[in-house]
Symmetry: none
Subunit: 229 residues, 2 copies
């Protein structure tokens, strides 16, 4: 059963982008372009998560959120609000009115996914896989823990997101650019070679005596993560 995400966003380009990315991440999606449609869709099928733009035609995000909370089925459904930069007031009001988290536009997809997973886990733990195993490496994205051979390892935040991305797509080769998009986010500018450095740090962090290197370098192409034996 795929988690069902309701996207409430009137700006077409953003809505499409969200739909596509969430679709790819394994969610089912629906789009509402205004507040009324949002309430309608939410009552037709109870979403597992709602992405709620704060500036909406017909009904404001605040109002939508308040009414959602009043209904029994959606009273605990996680809501992430999407606000424009610098709208401090909205943010606070939003959290007051029952939103669970907020993202300031423009935001990075990886971060949005991270918060999405965190919220959904809180609401309905069964919906998400918490711990992923590839070979002898075990990643617990809830607890932000990594173990190898039942040996706890310490990783920095970036190394963790990198590894998290790798174990979700084992065996596949990613170019530096793809990794930058997926791990750092599309809008940040960092040198491609920075990836190399973090790969190096990740390798070091994963190193255990007698164990091989699970990260494969593919010259002029990128890196891949695979099980070792």
């Amino acid at each position: 059963m795929k988690p069902y995400v309701l996207i409430v966003e009137d700006e077409d380009a953003l809505a499409t982008l969200l739909e596509y990315n969430f679709g790819k991440e394994g969610y089912e999606t629906a789009i509402a372009v205004d507040g009324e449609e949002a309430l309608l869709l939410a009552s037709e099928r109870t979403p597992d998560l709602i992405l709620l733009d704060w500036m909406l035609p017909k009904l404001s995000g605040i109002e939508v959120c308040r009414r959602l909370r009043r209904r029994k089925e959606t009273s605990k459904t996680p809501v992430i609000m999407l606000t424009a930069r610098g709208d401090e007031t909205d943010r606070i009001t939003g959290l007051d009115f029952g939103a669970d988290d907020y993202m300031i536009k423009p935001f990075s997809m990886p971060e949005l996914f991270a918060r999405t997973r965190a919220l959904m886990r809180r609401a309905k733990p069964s919906l998400l896989e918490d711990v992923i195993r590839v070979g002898d490496v075990e990643v617990d994205s809830q607890a932000f823990r990594v173990r190898r051979d039942d040996q706890a390892l310490h990783l920095g935040p970036t190394e963790f997101r990198l590894l998290d991305h790798f174990v979700r797509h084992p065996g596949r080769v990613f170019s530096r650019e793809q990794l930058l998009d997926a791990v750092w986010g599309r809008d940040v500018y960092v040198e491609a070679r920075t990836v190399d450095v973090h790969i190096g740090r990740l390798r070091k962090a994963l190193k255990l005596p007698g164990k091989g290197d699970p990260i494969r370098t593919v010259r002029s192409a990128g890196y891949a993560f695979e099980a070792v034996n």
Copy 2:
């Protein structure tokens, strides 16, 4: 190697969105902002798919499509036209003039990808496969792996791209110039005889005791890759 998609769209935001999403999906892309540029780019390198906006500066979508169809190389290239809502006339005319499918703006990315894959599968099935087998040779372009007889082999980047190109068009004879275009790229200048050297290296890399040579030399014409038994 990667499927090559030509995006013909004068609206900047949409063009960028398409480029980003197709890039992420594993396509190579190019953008043309008007009809003339579209024809130019399409002749420089034959696209595997064309996304064609119907309202264009300089040359209309109809005209672009008609001229593409008249050329031999692009006479069968899949074309998806992008039309504004309610332009019934355009849609019908478009299909008459040789477009293969249409999408009405605004459209959803996942649907566009679905239609893209459907059309490309019809035109060139091998473009979409991740792992391709020809005889006892197996190429996994996602993991950048080559096996022969379940024996993993090591190839340099150029040898890999060369082999990748070959297995996607098994049996066909390519001239040195064609191989340079397809594997090295149109804009690089390298001696034609360099191909010979890389063919030699590829042969060496594919060599296994008791196994024949899958690359056939066609005197004064070029090379072809074929299954061996």
